[in-house]
C-alpha cells in the first residue's frame, strides 16, 4: 500500500508538470450535491483526464474549497458533510483548474425523523454489531441477540427497545442509553468501541432515541437498486479509485450510501477495497469484482488492470476454448506460455484423467509415436480406461458423502460401485444428476439411494442438491439473507419443499428403503406462513396430489435454460483439469462472484448442453484445447497471472493419487488394513480407513458436499513424510522394488537413471540431469560403499520422489 501511495504522488507530480503544457481536464460527479439531514453525507468523485496520464481518479489529488463553510464542509477525499440549511458552491481544484459544484443543504433545522429500518439497522450492519461472529450469531452475545445482517427488523427492535426491561434505550436521556454506551465503549463492551462518540452514526442513533425510539412501518420495498460508480474501472499498477454508491428508490430519488455500504473484493491479489469504498490495485494485472452490499441490496464494480506494455501475440487455436481465452489475454495484454512438451503433456493428462502415472513403457511408446494427432488419440484412450472410472467415482463419492459411518460399509461399497458404473458407461450428466435427485430403493443396493440416508431430511437434501448441482450455497439462507447473495429464507424453504415427500423406511434387509411420495409445503420460521415449493428464481409449482415433488424439481434442474446446472458442472470439470475454476469456489455460483471469463463459462455450458451432457466429450474438448496443453513455465509477461489460464497450473496431487504414484514409482504396493492386496488408493471406498499418509496429506472425511473438504494446502509435515517416513523409505529400499531390480539388472548407470526418471517423472532426464545423477554412482563406486549401485539407485529414486515435479501435476 505504501508503494501505491508513492505511485499516486508520482501521478500527481506528472499532472502538475503537464499543467504548463496541457492541464488535466476535471469532471466532478455528481454535478450537484444534495444533503437532506444532519447525518447525511455525499461522496463526490473527481475524474481527471490528461494526454500524459489518460483517465485517472483525481478525487484524492484535488483540493476542495467551499464558498460558505458554515453550510457544508468537504473532507479531503471528497466526502461532503452538511452544517446548516442553505446553498453554496464547492470547488475541486487541481493545478490551476477549478470545477465548481453546487451543494444544497436542507433538513438541518427541522430534520425528518430517523427511521429504524432505513437508518439505524444499516449502521448496526456496517459497524458489525449483527455479524454472525457477534450479536448476530444464533445464541447472541452476552444476552443480546440481533438478527444476523438485520434481516428481521421487528426482532431487532424488540431486542433493542423492549428486552432487558427497557434499559437498553432511555428516550428521556438518550446519551445514557446502554445501547449507545456499549456501542461507544463508554460502558465496557466485549466488542470494543464500534461507534465513535459524537460521530455521524452516534448522532443518528441518539436522535432516533430522542425522537421516541419507534419502529417505523415496513414500507413496500422502496429502494429498487444500488448503483455503484464507476461500474467499470480501468487501472494501472498500484493506483486507486474511489467508489460512490447510491441507493435508488422506486420514485427515482437517490441517496448516497457510500459510507454505509460494505465492500469486498473477489480477488484481493489484484485489487483491494477498504471500508470507505477506496479501491487500490496491486501490481498484478487481471480483473477483480468489487462487491458492494447495503441492506440486502448488492452491486458490483468491475476492475480491469491490463499490463501497460502488452506483448500479447495470438497463438493458434484448436477450438472455441482457445479463442475465448486468447480474447481475454489480449484484453489484458498478457502473453500465453508456449505449449508443453510431449512428455509433460503425457504425464499431465494421465494424472488428470486417471489419477495414474504412465508406466516407463507407456512414456517411451508415446514419445516415439509419430502420428500427428497423437494427443487426441491419447486422451480418447485414457477416458476409456478403468482408472478413469475409479478416479472419478472416488471424486463423486467424496461429494455425495459416501461415508460408511453414515450409510454403512455395505451401502458405501454399493454406492461407489453405482458411481463407477455411471462414469464407466459415460452416463449423460443430466441423467446422472436426475438419478441422484430421484433416488429410491434400498440404500444397500447399487443405486444412489444412500444419498437420502446421508441427507436425513428435506432441508439437508435440498441444501446438498443446491450446492452440488446448482452451485448455490443456499445453506446460509436457512437463518438469514446471505450477504452478497440474493437468496433469503423464503427461497430456502421453497426449495426444501420439493424434498418433503421422501420417506426413509427401515428396510427388513438392513439399511433404509427410500420411497418418494407426495410432500407438503414448509412454514417460514419467522412469519409462520406456508412457503409454496419453488425452485430458485422460479414460480411456485402446482403439484398433482400424489406426485413425487422431486420430479418437478428435476425437470426444472435439467432444463436446457436452467441458469445454474450446466454452468456448475462445466466449471467443476474445467477446474479439475485447469487447476482453478472460472469461478471459485466451484460451488459458489452467484452474480456477485463473477467468472474470471464469463464468455468461456457460457460457451462451455452451452457446449455441454449441445452434446447432450456427454462428459467425456466435454473433457476431450477441454484436453484438446491449446490452453490445456500450455507449459506451466512462466514468462515475464504472465508470471503474475493466476486467473486467466495463460499457463498451466501446478496442481497438488490428491493424497490418493500421490500414494499411488509412490507405489508406481517404487514398484512396491501399499497395503491397506483390511483391504485386498494390491488395491489402489484411488479405488478405496472407505473414507474412514486409518492411514498416516492420509492424515498428513489430507483426504475428505465426507461430512459435507463441499468440494472444500479436500484441503490442498501443502505443509511441513508433508515434506517430512516424503523425506523420512518409514513407509516411503521401506518402498524405496524394498528388495523386490524398482530400485533393487534396476540395480541388479545389466543396465548401465545411465540407463538406470533414465528408467528412474521415466518411472517417477514420466520423462527422460536432460543431459545435465543424467550427468548429475550418474555422478552419484561413480562417487559411491570409488568410495568403497557396500553395494554402491543399489545405494546410488535408491538415492536417485529418493531424490526424484522428493522433487516438486513429482508431488505436483504441472
Amino acid at each position: 500500500m505504501r508503494v501505491g501511495f508513492l505511485t499516486i504522488l508520482a501521478v500527481a507530480q506528472l499532472a502538475v508538470v503537464s499543467a504548463a503544457a496541457d492541464a488535466p481536464a476535471l469532471r466532478v460527479h455528481p454535478e450537484r450535491v444534495t444533503l437532506r439531514r444532519p447525518e447525511s453525507s455525499s461522496q463526490v468523485l473527481v475524474f481527471g483526464k490528461s494526454p500524459e496520464s489518460g483517465n485517472f481518479d483525481a478525487t484524492r489529488l484535488v483540493t476542495f474549497r467551499i464558498d460558505d463553510p458554515s453550510i457544508a464542509e468537504v473532507l479531503p477525499g471528497g466526502r461532503v458533510l452538511p452544517r446548516a440549511d442553505g446553498e453554496t458552491i464547492a470547488h475541486a481544484e487541481l493545478d490551476g483548474q477549478s470545477v465548481p459544484f453546487p451543494v444544497l443543504v436542507t433538513g438541518q433545522a427541522n430534520p425528518p425523523p430517523v427511521s429504524f429500518r432505513g437508518d439505524v439497522l444499516p449502521v448496526l450492519t456496517k459497524a458489525g454489531c449483527n455479524s454472525g461472529g457477534c450479536h448476530g450469531k444464533a445464541e447472541g452475545q452476552n444476552g443480546f441477540k440481533l438478527s444476523v445482517f438485520a434481516f428481521d427488523a421487528k426482532f431487532d427492535f424488540a431486542a433493542i427497545v423492549q428486552e432487558a426491561r427497557g434499559r437498553r434505550v432511555r428516550t428521556t436521556a438518550a446519551a445514557q442509553s446502554l445501547f449507545l454506551r456499549k456501542a461507544t465503549g463508554e460502558t465496557p463492551h466485549g466488542g470494543g468501541r464500534r461507534i465513535e462518540p459524537g460521530g455521524d452514526w452516534y448522532r443518528l442513533i441518539k436522535r432516533w432515541i430522542e425522537e421516541g425510539a419507534a419502529l417505523d412501518e415496513a414500507t413496500p420495498e422502496s429502494a429498487v437498486r444500488l448503483r455503484v460508480e464507476p461500474a467499470e474501472i480501468l487501472v494501472d499498477s498500484q493506483t486507486t479509485q474511489q467508489l460512490r454508491v447510491t441507493l435508488v428508490a422506486a420514485d427515482g430519488s437517490e441517496t448516497c450510501v457510500t459510507t454505509g455500504a460494505d465492500y469486498q473484493s473477489n480477488a484481493e491479489a489484484i485489487a483491494a477495497v477498504d471500508e470507505t469504498g477506496l479501491v487500490t490495485s496491486t501490481e498484478i494485472p487481471g480483473e477483480a469484482a468489487i462487491l458492494v452490499r447495503y441492506m440486502g441490496h448488492v452491486g458490483v464494480s468491475r476492475l480491469t488492470h491490463a499490463r501497460p506494455e502488452s506483448d500479447f501475440t495470438r497463438p493458434p487455436q484448436n477450438n472455441f476454448i482457445d479463442r475465448l481465452v486468447w480474447d481475454k489475454l489480449e484484453k489484458l495484454g498478457i502473453a500465453a506460455s508456449p505449449p508443453a512438451s510431449e512428455a509433460v503433456f503425457l504425464r499431465r493428462v494421465y494424472l488428470d484423467t486417471t489419477g495414474t502415472l504412465p508406466t516407463p513403457e507407456e512414456v517411451q511408446q508415446y514419445l516415439e509415436d509419430r502420428a500427428p494427432d497423437k494427443r487426441s488419440g491419447l486422451v480418447a484412450g485414457l477416458l476409456d480406461r478403468s482408472e478413469y472410472a475409479d478416479y472419478w467415482a472416488q471424486k463423486w463419492a467424496d461429494l455425495l458423502r459416501v461415508d460408511r459411518n453414515v450409510i454403512t460399509s455395505q451401502g458405501a461399497v454399493a454406492m461407489t460401485r453405482w458411481l463407477r458404473e455411471q462414469i464407466e458407461t459415460n452416463r449423460p450428466y443430466d441423467e446422472f444428476a436426475r438419478d441422484i435427485v430421484m433416488a429410491d430403493g434400498r440404500s444397500m443396493d447399487e443405486n444412489p439411494a444412500a444419498f437420502y440416508v446421508a441427507h436425513q431430511d428435506a432441508e439437508a437434501a435440498s441444501r446438498a442438491v443446491s450446492q452440488l448441482f446448482l452451485g448455490v450455497r443456499i445453506e446460509c439462507a436457512e437463518c438469514h439473507h446471505h450477504p452478497f447473495e440474493k437468496w433469503g429464507q423464503a427461497d430456502y424453504y421453497a426449495l426444501a419443499g420439493f424434498f418433503t415427500g421422501v420417506e426413509r423406511r427401515d428396510s427388513p434387509l438392513g439399511g433404509k428403503k427410500i420411497v418418494g411420495g407426495p410432500g407438503q409445503d414448509l412454514l417460514h420460521p419467522r412469519t409462520g406462513e406456508t412457503v409454496a415449493a419453488a425452485a430458485l428464481d422460479a414460480p411456485p409449482v402446482e403439484f398433482e396430489p400424489l406426485a413425487d415433488r422431486r420430479t418437478a424439481f428435476a425437470d426444472w434442474m435439467t432444463a436446457s435454460d436452467n441458469p445454474f446446472f450446466a454452468r456448475t458442472i462445466a466449471n467443476r470439470i474445467w477446474a479439475h483439469y485447469l487447476g482453478r475454476g472460472l469461478f471459485e469456489p466451484v460451488d459458489d455460483l452467484r452474480a456477485t462472484n463473477p467468472a474470471s471469463n464469463e464468455p468461456l463459462l457460457d460457451a462451455l455450458a452451452a457446449y455441454l448442453i449441445e452434446v447432450d451432457y456427454d462428459v467425456k466429450q466435454l473433457t476431450q474438448t477441454i484436453l484438446e484445447s491449446r490452453v490445456y496443453q500450455l507449459s506451466s513455465a512462466t514468462t515475464e509477461s504472465n508470471r503474475l497471472d493466476d486467473q486467466n489460464y495463460s499457463r498451466a497450473a501446478w496442481k497438488p496431487l490428491p493424497a490418493e493419487v500421490l500414494l499411488d504414484a509412490i507405489t508406481a514409482a517404487t514398484g512396491v504396493s501399499h497395503d491397506f488394513d483390511g483391504m485386498p492386496a494390491g488395491l489402489r488408493a484411488i479405488e478405496l471406498w472407505d473414507s474412514r480407513l486409518p492411514a498416516n499418509f492420509f492424515q498428513v496429506f489430507g483426504r475428505p472425511v465426507r461430512q459435507s458436499v463441499c468440494a472444500c473438504e479436500r484441503g490442498v494446502e501443502p505443509s511441513m509435515a508433508q515434506a517430512l513424510h516424503l523425506m523420512n517416513s518409514e513407509e516411503t523409505s521401506a518402498k524405496i529400499r524394498d528388495r523386490r522394488g524398482r530400485a533393487a531390480e534396476l540395480a541388479a539388472s545389466s543396465l548401465s548407470n545411465e540407463q538406470i537413471v533414465d528408467q528412474l526418471y521415466l518411472a517417477a517423472l514420466s520423462r527422460f532426464p536432460s543431459d545435465d540431469e543424467r550427468r548429475l545423477m550418474t555422478s552419484v554412482f561413480t562417487q559411491l563406486e570409488s568410495s568403497g560403499t557396500a553395494d554402491p549401485r543399489r545405494t546410488a539407485t535408491e538415492d536417485v529414486l529418493w531424490t526424484l520422489l522428493n522433487t516438486k515435479e513429482f508431488a505436483f501435476n504441472h
Binding site: M1, R79, G192, P690, V701, L772, V776, D795, W798
Partner: protein
C-alpha cells in the same frame, strides 16, 4: 474531523488491517500519530504472559472427588475410601493419592467449579478442545483428527502465534488428541504428531529423523542431490502451492538438521536421574519431553493420557495405575519448570473431558459427570497456591460461579496473547470467532 471515517469503524483491528488503513488513509488525512496509535493497539491486543502451554488431556475423565475435591463428610457411597491430606498451603487439602503434588500446591491453582453439559467422551473432548459443539453423536466420530470443522486450541495457537523456535509450534503426543486437528484452518495448522510413546526404549519421533539405512553422510548426499535436481528440473519454475512447498521443504530440512530441534526431541540427553524423577511412564516421559519442547520454544504441547474412564473398579484403577504416575509427572514438571525459571511463562493445564459421578456404582466404579470437574492450572500468569471455586457437599455441582469451557478458553488465550474475539471464516463464509462466548476467569490470574 478528517479521521472520523476511520475512527467510526475500526477499533478492533489486527496489524494487517491497521497497515492497510494506514496506507490508504494517509491520503484521506489520517494523521501519523493516529496511525501509530492504531498500529500499536493492533499489535498488542493483550500482554502475553504465557509463551507456551502444556495441556494434559486426561482422557476418559479423572475422578475429581478422589483427587482434588474430597468430601470426607459425605456418605460412604459417595466419599470413597480416600482421606484428604494437608498440603504445602495451609488450609488446602487434596486427596491422599497425590502425596507428591501435595508438597507443591503452592505452585498452582485448583479450579473446583468447572462445569459443562456434555457428558460423553468424544463429544465432550470436542467441546473441551475446540469450544464448539460437535456435529456428530458420541461414538460416531472416527478417523483422526475428528474435529472436521472447528480448530482445536493448539491449531488456533499455531495460527495466531506462529512458530517461535526450531520446533513446530504445535506438537501432540504420544497419540493424536482426537479432536486436536486444525478443522477448517487446514493442514498448515495441523499438529505435529509424535505417534510414538516416549517411554518406549526405541522411542523415535515419526518422520523427524531419517530411517536407519540413511546415515548422516547419505542424508547429506541426498539433500544436495535434491537441491541440484530441483535447480535443473521443472520445479525451479514452480508457482502457487508448489512454490510454497519449497518453503516447507526448507523448514523440514532445517528441522531435521537443526541441533536444537533434534535435541529438543531427544530424551536420551536427559540424565537417568531426571527421567526417573518424571517417572518411566507414558505421562512422565511425555511431560519431560513437553518441558524440552517448551525450552525449544514450542507454543503448544498437547499430551493425552488415559484411560480414566473408570466405570468399573474406579479405586483400583486410580490408586494403582492412573494417579501415581500423574502425581509424579505433574509434581516434577511444575518443580522443574519453576527451577528453570520457565513456570512463569509456561501455562500448564490438566483436565479431562469430564469429572466422575460422586455416587459409586454397583461395580465400585464411578460414571461420567461433566457437571463438576476440578481443573489444575499453573504458570504463565496463573495464581500460585490458590483454590478457586467450590462444589456442594457431594462434589456434584459448583456452589460458586460455575466456569465452563468458554471461560477457560478465554483465560488461556488471554494469557497467551491471542485475541479470543478474532474471527476467521469457514470455506462457506461463516464467521467463527476463536471463542464463542464466555468470560476470562479473573480469579485465577496472578
Amino acid at each position: 474531523m478528517s479521521n472520523r471515517r476511520i475512527s467510526d469503524t475500526e477499533f478492533r483491528m489486527n496489524r494487517r488491517t491497521a497497515v492497510r488503513i494506514g496506507g490508504a488513509g494517509l491520503l484521506g488525512g489520517l494523521t501519523l500519530p493516529r496511525l501509530l496509535e492504531l498500529q500499536s493497539t493492533a499489535a498488542a491486543p493483550q500482554p502475553a504472559k504465557a509463551k507456551s502451554c502444556i495441556f494434559f488431556m486426561l482422557e476418559g475423565g479423572p475422578s475429581h472427588i478422589d483427587m482434588w475435591d474430597l468430601k470426607p463428610g459425605a456418605p460412604a457411597e459417595i466419599r470413597g475410601p480416600y482421606q484428604p491430606i494437608s498440603t504445602a498451603v495451609a488450609g488446602t487439602q487434596i486427596g491422599e493419592l497425590l502425596p507428591m503434588t501435595a508438597g507443591i500446591v503452592d505452585k498452582f491453582t485448583i479450579l473446583r467449579s468447572h462445569s459443562h453439559a456434555d457428558n460423553a467422551h468424544q463429544t465432550g473432548r470436542h467441546w473441551v478442545l475446540t469450544g464448539y459443539p460437535p456435529s456428530f453423536a458420541d461414538g460416531q466420530a472416527q478417523g483422526m483428527p475428528f474435529n472436521a470443522l472447528y480448530p482445536s486450541i493448539g491449531s488456533i495457537v499455531a495460527r495466531e502465534l506462529g512458530q517461535r523456535g526450531a520446533v513446530p509450534p504445535y506438537v501432540e503426543m504420544p497419540n493424536p488428541l482426537g479432536p486436536g486437528g486444525p478443522g477448517f484452518y487446514g493442514a498448515k495448522y495441523a499438529p505435529f504428531t509424535i505417534d510414538n510413546d516416549p517411554v518406549q526404549a526405541d522411542f523415535k519421533v515419526r518422520d523427524l529423523t531419517t530411517t536407519s539405512e540413511v546415515d548422516g553422510d547419505r542424508y547429506e548426499r541426498r539433500k544436495q542431490l535434491l537441491q541440484d535436481a530441483e535447480a535443473l528440473g521443472a520445479s525451479d519454475d514452480a508457482t502457487g502451492p508448489a512454490k510454497q512447498m519449497t518453503d516447507f521443504y526448507e523448514q523440514a530440512m532445517t528441522l531435521v538438521s537443526s541441533p536444537e530441534a533434534s535435541r529438543a526431541f531427544d530424551l536420551s540427553v536427559e540424565s537417568d536421574e531426571m527421567r526417573e524423577r518424571y517417572g518411566y511412564t507414558s505421562i512422565g516421559q511425555c511431560a519431560l519431553l513437553g518441558r524440552r519442547l517448551v525450552e525449544a520454544d514450542c507454543r503448544f504441547v498437547g499430551i493425552t493420557h488415559g484411560s480414566w474412564d473408570t466405570h468399573v473398579d474406579n479405586f483400583t484403577s486410580h490408586e494403582k495405575t492412573l494417579v501415581p504416575p500423574t502425581d509424579r509427572a505433574l509434581t516434577t514438571l511444575l518443580t522443574d519448570l519453576d527451577d528453570r525459571g520457565l513456570l512463569d511463562e509456561t501455562l500448564v493445564v490438566v483436565m479431562g473431558e469430564m469429572g466422575r459421578t460422586p455416587r459409586i456404582n454397583k461395580d465400585a466404579g464411578r460414571d461420567h459427570w461433566s457437571m463438576c470437574q476440578s481443573v489444575i492450572l499453573a504458570g504463565g500468569g496463573i495464581k500460585r497456591g490458590a483454590v478457586i471455586g467450590a462444589s456442594d457437599e457431594t462434589a456434584s455441582y459448583p456452589t460458586t460461579q460455575p466456569y465452563g469451557i468458554h471461560d477457560l478458553l478465554q483465560t488461556l488465550f488471554y494469557l497467551m496473547g491471542v485475541d479470543a474475539n478474532k474471527i476467521h471464516h469457514t470455506p462457506l463464509g461463516r464467521p467463527v470467532p476463536i471463542v464463542s462466548g464466555g468470560h476470562r476467569i479473573d480469579e485465577v490470574l496472578a
